[in-house]
């Protein structure tokens, strides 16, 4: 037997419909998503001004990532292109310097050049002026291809010199077990997961000079902690 029920003359707040309605309260978060252009339903994309705001270039890249099922390239093909990439951009001291396509004449003035922030240890926020230009600028040139290979327990290249403002198409492969290739960008990170033997691709544009820590965020074995590399953005 159940304890006594309260049935008669219920207050609004104990009525079933009222309680059920409030149970859907969490769904109201959709409003916050819509405000940031990250709402899944089509009608909110119309409110579009926000979508261009920075993070979530939601629509543009969708084409890129839409075809999840068919692989970009085989791991062997990746490794072959990766070797060619290293052969092309590796300097005698072992770093990999990828010039910006838009400014070919600057190609060899990598770091130490007039960017004062490039050589600092942590990515210090740049002067306020560069803040204004965060919004994804349409890249002038084609993105340059980067081949980042993650393995137990490291990355090649483990030091890359790239340019701010230039889009790079990162093609990434974890060739033994799953790894991460996350980017530490000062006050926050961009987390990237790589599944074993699946070539992944992201087009990334750095907007500020600085040093970026590349680190593995998927546990991969005993020396997981030591698995890191760096990108120097000039």
């Amino acid at each position: 037997m159940e304890p006594t029920q309260l049935e008669s003359k219920q207050h609004l707040t104990t009525r079933r419909g009222f309680i059920a309605a409030f149970g859907f309260g969490g769904v109201a978060l959709y409003g916050a998503w819509a405000a940031y252009g990250a709402s899944p339903l089509p009608f909110t994309h119309a409110s579009g001004g926000h979508a261009a705001h920075g993070t979530a270039p939601a629509k543009a890249p969708a084409g890129h990532s839409g075809h999840g099922a068919d692989p970009l390239m085989t791991p062997d093909e990746f490794l072959r292109r990766h070797e060619a990439f290293l052969a092309r951009f590796r300097t005698p001291d072992g770093r990999v310097v990828v010039p910006a396509a838009a400014a070919p004449e600057d190609a060899h003035a990598d770091h130490g050049a007039p960017q004062p922030h490039a050589t600092h240890g942590t990515p210090t926020p740049p002067p306020a002026q560069s803040h204004a230009e965060h919004a994804p600028q349409p890249a002038d040139g084609e993105p340059l291809d980067i081949y980042l290979h993650a393995f137990r327990f490291g990355f090649t290249p483990d030091e890359m010199h790239l340019r701010a403002g230039q889009p790079y198409r990162f093609r990434m492969l974890a060739s033994d077990v799953s790894h991460g290739a996350s980017l530490q960008l000062g006050h926050a990170s961009r987390i990237v997961r790589l599944r074993a033997n699946v070539v992944s691709e992201q087009t990334i544009t750095f907007h500020r000079p600085g040093r970026v820590l590349v680190y593995c965020t998927v546990f991969c074995g005993p020396a997981h902690d030591a698995m890191s590399g760096r990108i120097v953005v000039a």
Binding site: Q5, T14, F24, P40, G68, H134, V192
Partner: protein, 562 residues
């Protein structure tokens, strides 16, 4: 103790769910006692590994990396698998027995299940201690050099799954048997127990799907399980929503025991809410995979949308329970919120644990909902943000709700009064304080990119210096909540040792007398108000994460991966 709680004495009075523990037969009490002891032993061990992990992550302990990851594996295996599943098995069986007011059905099956769980526990622990760290998902990718470890951990999990499935069967048979006794069919709680036990069996099937291929490969009978990651996600979603459903059922039972009134919304409504877990939980599983390479954008978008609904059954149950508690406080006379809050039986450890469990669930939900937005996954997945929020659920909400329930059940099982109830009433508040510190440190660290599964986050001096103080908060908060929780575990275990009266006589649970007269049509605004505050907090957390993400000096296209 409390003036609002009186001991049930008359067997003729209407009974609240847990008061029926007094009717448990000796043989059932022995079985339930063994199962409770086994679960609490797993919890105690899980807490010990957790403390070690908190010290390691804060930098206070610097073990060899292998040792660090082994402890992390053991913590997850012990706390997440063996504590949560064994506690569920014990609870579903106890509540089923109480529902029936007679002997358990298929008791032999339940004993066999208990033995299988114990065997699985030993096997998984030994494998995790002896072999390379595979983390608690027993990832076969990491065990290619040492298949024996994969075999041991997956074999242990399969024994565990078989064990709780058998106990779930016994519980189902027991609840179904009540239909023959009762006049009006199943109670709401009985119905909820059937859904829960059914879900446990589904979970066992998911565990077989996730771990059997690994076991076969490791034993030389099958191909390498390349689908292990996907199969793990299916189990994992099930694995962590099921305890939340269990929690809600425990609250539902406890609220009736602590206040003596049953929900104003009635039995049928409660049944619909319990059943709705089966509708709302399975489709919401996609958000764990937002960072998986190869997941199409359309699936990610749909996953975000569906995940918005994951809290619906839990929030409705929360509102029902909070309304019951509030009506109880109004029945003692009007007054301000504080005066009415004080009328709840806070001097009962069950109430204190449940109260804190409800609070931590709201805190956890506010942050959990940041992660269901696929656009934010690249900011927070695989970071300390994840353990930062889920300990609010796993420890604050779920574990403390089971402790609350055991604080009521154990005296009936053992015949011994609860050990130091006043002390046990304080512990949940210390757990809350520790969780707030741990959560603030973990959520903050996660937002700044501290990875969740890295023992040494120094990266040769290249990691941001600000990571350290946040991880120190994680360590201090973790040790604080673990210590307080350990006292609660000790208290319940101590009370489980049969008293002088022994198993022959049961102590009467400390429950409020069921009210025979209907309370006046009281208002219950606390729950709806809490939901409004929760939504505001969700907005704050999500907007904060979006702002942080937009401030990153990088634009990336192509989703989580190709």
């Amino acid at each position: 103790m409390s003036t609002t709680s009186t001991t049930m004495t008359s067997p003729r009075a209407p009974q609240t769910p847990l008061s029926r523990f007094a009717t448990l037969q000796t043989a059932d009490r022995l079985l339930c006692g063994v199962l409770i002891a086994l679960s609490l032993f797993a919890l105690a061990l899980g807490i010990a590994y957790g403390v070690a992990m908190a010290l390691v992550r804060s930098g206070l302990l610097a073990p060899a990396p292998d040792t660090g990851y082994r402890v992390l594996t053991l913590h997850g295996t012990t706390a997440f698998f063996y504590w949560l599943y064994t506690a569920q098995a014990a609870t579903v069986l106890l509540l089923a027995a109480a529902e029936k007011k007679g002997a358990l059905a298929l008791r032999g099956l339940a004993w066999a299940g208990t033995a299988l769980i114990a065997a699985g526990f030993v096997l998984s622990e030994l494998a995790a201690i002896a072999g390379p760290p595979l983390l608690y998902e027993a990832n076969p990718e990491l065990g290619t050099d040492d298949p024996r470890t994969v075999a041991g951990m997956t074999g242990g999990y399969l024994l565990l799954a078989a064990g709780f499935a058998l106990i779930a069967l016994s519980s189902i048979a027991t609840v179904l048997a009540t239909r023959r006794q009762a006049d009006g069919g199943l109670s709401a709680l009985g119905f909820g127990l059937l859904a829960w036990a059914g879900f446990l069996i589904v979970s066992a099937v998911a565990a077989v799907n996730a771990f059997l291929p690994g076991l076969l490969w490791a034993s030389g009978f099958g191909a390498f399980p390349h689908a292990a990651t996907t199969d793990w996600h299916i189990l994992f979603h099930n694995l962590h929503y099921l305890p939340l459903m269990a929690t809600v059922l425990v609250w539902y039972a406890l609220a009736q025991d602590l206040t003596g009134i049953s929900p104003a919304t009635g039995t049928a409504f409660s049944k619909i809410v319990f059943a709705s877990y089966l509708v709302f939980v399975p489709p919401t599983s996609l958000y764990h995979m937002f960072l998986e390479p190869g997941l199409p954008e359309s699936v990610r978008v749909a996953g975000s949308l569906l995940s918005l609904f994951v809290s619906v059954p839990t929030l409705i149950a929360f509102l029902i329970v909070v309304a019951s508690l509030e009506i109880h406080t109004r029945a003692g006379g009007e007054g301000g919120m504080r005066a009415r809050l004080r009328r709840l039986p806070w001097d009962n450890p069950a109430m204190a644990n449940m109260g804190v469990a409800i609070l931590t669930m709201l805190i956890g939900l506010a942050f959990a909902f940041v992660l269901i937005q696929e656009k934010l996954a690249p900011l927070l997945s695989d970071t300390m943000f994840v353990p930062g929020y889920f300990h609010f659920f796993a420890v604050g909400t779920v574990t403390q709700s089971f402790i609350a329930m055991l604080a009521m059940a154990v005296p009936a099982v053992s015949g011994r009064p609860l050990w130091r109830p006043r002390l046990l009433c304080v512990m949940p508040w210390i757990v809350l304080a520790g969780l707030l510190l741990f959560g603030a440190g973990g959520l903050g660290a996660g937002l700044m990119g501290v990875p969740r599964r890295v023992v040494d986050i120094g990266y040769g001096g290249e990691a941001p210096a600000i990571w350290r103080p946040f991880m120190a908060m994680v360590g201090i908060g973790g040790v604080l909540f673990a210590s307080a929780l350990a006292v609660s575990v000790f208290g319940v275990l101590r009370s489980l040792v049969p008293g002088r009266r022994g198993l022959a006589a049961a102590a009467e649970p400390h429950v409020a007398a069921a009210r025979s007269a209907a309370a006046p049509a009281a208002a219950a605004w606390t729950g709806p108000l809490a939901v409004v505050l929760l939504v505001a907090a969700m907005y704050g957390a999500t907007i904060g994460a979006f702002e942080l993400m937009q401030s990153l000096p990088v634009t990336a296209a192509g989703g989580g991966a190709h």
